[in-house]
């Protein structure tokens, strides 16, 4: 093979590699029950300081990805708030992560719905991508060791929490 042909071959390989890299990076993250929960230190929504899922290690954490423009999020927020208050003393924390939103609208949403569980803010859709999210709301139950125990890509209601989440956190499943 001549040097010129070899260079052309290398150029074609580089181009194919670049296309492959682009396609692989375009795909959303794949996560499954048992995997470590995707985590990152994020700013606290509407307040000073930063926080992460790891800061709640030793407790069950129900991570809720939401946005103020999402109608189902508006319906599930009061349900999650009641659940958070009821199960706080039983070692469960509900942790909201606001995504794809602007902070003023997000804070107005929390005020309107009287939501009091802790909230973090992800700028853009970085956290949504890390959770392999396809929309909002989505919910992820993280066990006290930081592993995913439940993945629910959609809104939760009281019945779902009673039948799917409570048995897990109480060790009945």
């Amino acid at each position: 093979m001549s040097a010129r042909a070899f260079l052309a071959f290398l150029a074609v390989c580089a181009l194919i590699g670049l296309l492959g890299f682009g396609l692989l990076n375009k795909g959303e993250a794949k996560i499954a029950v048992g995997d470590p929960a995707p985590d990152k230190v994020l700013p606290v929504l509407g307040g000073p300081g930063r926080d992460s899922i790891a800061d709640y290690r030793g407790r069950w954490v129900l991570v809720n990805l939401w946005a103020s423009w999402c109608i189902p999020c508006r319906e599930e927020a009061p349900v999650l708030d009641r659940f958070a208050r009821r199960y706080d003393k039983r070692g469960v924390t509900v942790l909201g992560i606001n995504v794809q939103d602007n902070s003023d609208d997000a804070l107005a949403f929390l005020r309107e719905n009287d939501v009091r569980y802790p909230q973090l803010r992800s700028i853009g859709d970085e956290r949504s991508a890390a959770f392999g999210s396809t929309g909002v709301p989505e919910n992820f139950l993280v066990d006290p060791q930081g592993r995913l125990a439940l993945i629910w890509r959609g809104p939760v209601d009281g019945e779902f929490l009673r039948k799917q989440v409570v048995p897990v956190v109480e060790g009945r499943s």
């Binding site: 946005a67 103020s68 423009w69 794809q100 939103d101 602007n102 902070s103 003023d104 609208d105 700028i123 853009g124 859709d125 970085e126």
Partner: protein, 167 residues
């Protein structure tokens, strides 16, 4: 030199006039509350995305886009210029909100790569053309010599055809 009395009388007669002039100047040169708008919603909409919709904000009509538009209008009303509005949007929605990548860091490659590719293609084309012309001008090259006309039967047929169309 004016006496203090003259000065006082000058002040006394012209003071109201000077005060009115000063007040008019103040009104004329005071910017409106919050600063004059330095950009417009139309100006910004064409350069930012609705990140959730995946389209330019000016083309998006979803509720999310409307909220982003409200935010942009508020920032403009606060007197922010286009760059400041864009910075505020990036702080809220991340860099994906910008329709055009920023001209720094890795994003600079979005501008450099096409420019470099264009230069490389132009140089390659120039070399290719020069080589083809060299090959054409050599005997036995790919191109046909310009002075070589038809010969034999072709030449006779051409003459007959041309004679037929002589007026």
């Amino acid at each position: 030199m004016r006496s203090p009395g003259t000065f006082m009388s000058l002040c006394g007669t012209k003071a109201p006039f000077v005060a009115v002039l000063a007040a008019l100047a103040l009104v004329a040169f005071t910017p409106p509350a919050g600063g004059a708008p330095q950009t417009s919603i139309n100006d910004v909409e064409g350069e930012v995305m609705c990140p959730i919709c995946g389209t330019l904000l000016e083309l998006a009509e979803s509720p999310q886009a409307e909220r982003e538009r409200v935010l942009v209008k508020r920032l403009i009303a606060e007197g922010k210029d286009k760059t400041e509005v864009k910075h505020a949007l990036v702080a809220q929605y991340g860099p994906a909100v910008l329709a055009l990548p920023e001209g720094k860091g890795f994003d600079l490659s979005a501008y450099l790569v096409p420019a470099i590719a264009f230069v490389v293609a132009a140089v390659a084309l120039a070399f290719g053309v020069a080589r083809w012309r060299r090959a054409s001008s050599q005997p036995g090259g790919d191109g046909a010599p310009a002075d070589k006309g038809p010969s034999g039967d072709d030449a006779e047929r051409l003459e007959r055809d041309l004679a037929r169309y002589d007026l």
